[in-house]
Structure formats: C-alpha cells, structure tokens
C-alpha cells in the first residue's frame, strides 16, 4: 500500500467503513510511515477543531415555541379525532 492509496481511502478508514481484511493493510502501513501518521492525526484534528468551533453556538429552542408547537400538535390530534 502506498501513501496515496491510504489517503484516498482515509475517510472510510476513519469512519470505520472498511472491512477488517482491508483495514489491516492500513494499520500496517501506518505503523511504518510517520508522514501518514501525521496526515491521519491532522486530518482528525480538522474534524475536532470544526466541532469545537461550532460547539455551544446554539441551539436552545425557546420555551414559548416548544409550548406553541406542542399545543398545535395536540389541537391537530383532537381535530383529526373528531373528524
């Protein structure tokens, strides 16, 4: 396996989508290739930084909205039942 092949399928490796018999080739390459280890670590870092960047940016739903939607749902269910 070359570095290019490893990088080409890195998303499947990281997301756990590779069959075990293929994954073993990736693990073997990574053990012997510091540049690919660095690439993998920084590839994963990008995702972690991304998640940290948007963490806590939202998303509390206003209580009034929750109540209004639940009331609408209840009202809709009642109407359906009557008709």
């Amino acid at each position: 396996m070359t570095c290019r092949e490893l990088v080409d399928f890195l998303a499947d490796y990281v997301d756990g989508n590779l069959p075990a018999d293929v994954r073993v080739h990736f693990d073997r390459h990574l053990k012997a290739c510091p540049p690919c280890i660095a690439f993998l670590n920084t590839y994963n870092s990008g995702t972690k930084l991304l998640q940290a960047a948007f963490q806590d940016e939202c998303c509390q739903v206003p209580e009034g909205l929750v109540e209004a939607i639940l009331a609408a749902r209840k009202s809709s269910a009642t109407t359906d039942h009557v008709s």
Binding site: T2, C3, R4, E5, V7, L10, A11, D12, P35, C36, I37, A38, F39, N41, T42, Y43, N44, S45, G46, T47, K48, L49, L50, Q51, A52, A53, F54, E57, C58, C59, Q60, V61, V66, I69, L70, A72, R73, S76, A77, D80
Partner: protein, 164 residues
Amino acid sequence: MLTVIRRFCPNDADDVLQDAFLSAFRNIGQFDGAAKLGTWLHTIAVNAALQKLRRAKARPERSLEDLLPKFVENGHHAADVSDWSPTAAAVAEREETRRQVRAAIDKLPESYRIVLLARDIEGMDTEQTATALGVSVAVVKTRLHRARQALRSVLHTIFAGEVL
C-alpha cells in the same frame, strides 16, 4: 434554528427559516415525541437549508486541487507532513481558534462546505445528506473526504508554524 440555517445559507437565512417553520407546522402531526422537539426542529432546519441550496443555481466554484495533498510518482507524500495535532488540541477551545476555524470553512467551495457542515457538524448521515441535496451517496462521500483534506490544508497554514 436561525443559527443553524445561517451556517448553510448566510444570505437567505430569513427566507429559509420561514420555509423551516412552515415545514414544521405542516408536519407537526408526524412529530411523535420520541425525539426531543429541539432535535426534530434542528433536522427540519438543516433539511430546509439543504433544499434551498439544492434549488439554487449552481455557481462556478474555484477548484479544490490546490488544497489537496500531493504525491510523487511512487505514491509517497511529495512534501514533509508535520503533525500539528497536539498544538491544535491545546488551543481548540479558544475563541480565537474557533474564529479561525470558522473562517477556514468559509474558504472552501460551497458544494464541499455544505457537505462538511451537514456530516461533521449537524450529524446527518451520508444517505440523509445525499437525499436532501439530490446527489448520490458516492458524491457525498467524495465531497466529504475532499473537504476534510482541504480543511486540513487550510488549518495547516494556521497551526504548523505555531509552537506550543
């Protein structure tokens, strides 16, 4: 909901929010209470944003090639690969870092940025993202991987030179 929608459609966020509320109103009968209401509304907001982008005319985008890794003929990395992940981990929670990362996302072409946001931030799976955008699962997978590689390259310029 507006915050989520602004990530995808900063210029049309108010219109998309209206679409999302309309969709929530129309589909309220399908909300079975199994999921949290906030989660249900979040999914509606993301779908409304993705559908808006799907309807929008495709605009010419700059190529991503410059931000993808280079290899020599025998398949090895063409340049040294430095591991800046410890530096990044140490400063990930700082507001300045968060601002830099959000700016880095904005440098990606839209078709890649939205897949990255949908998959890695909003938690949609590949199939959901493909359906909402009207593209194949294979396209979503390819764009996600290329977007992650491009983001890594942009972040490299920020973190590789920094010393802990």
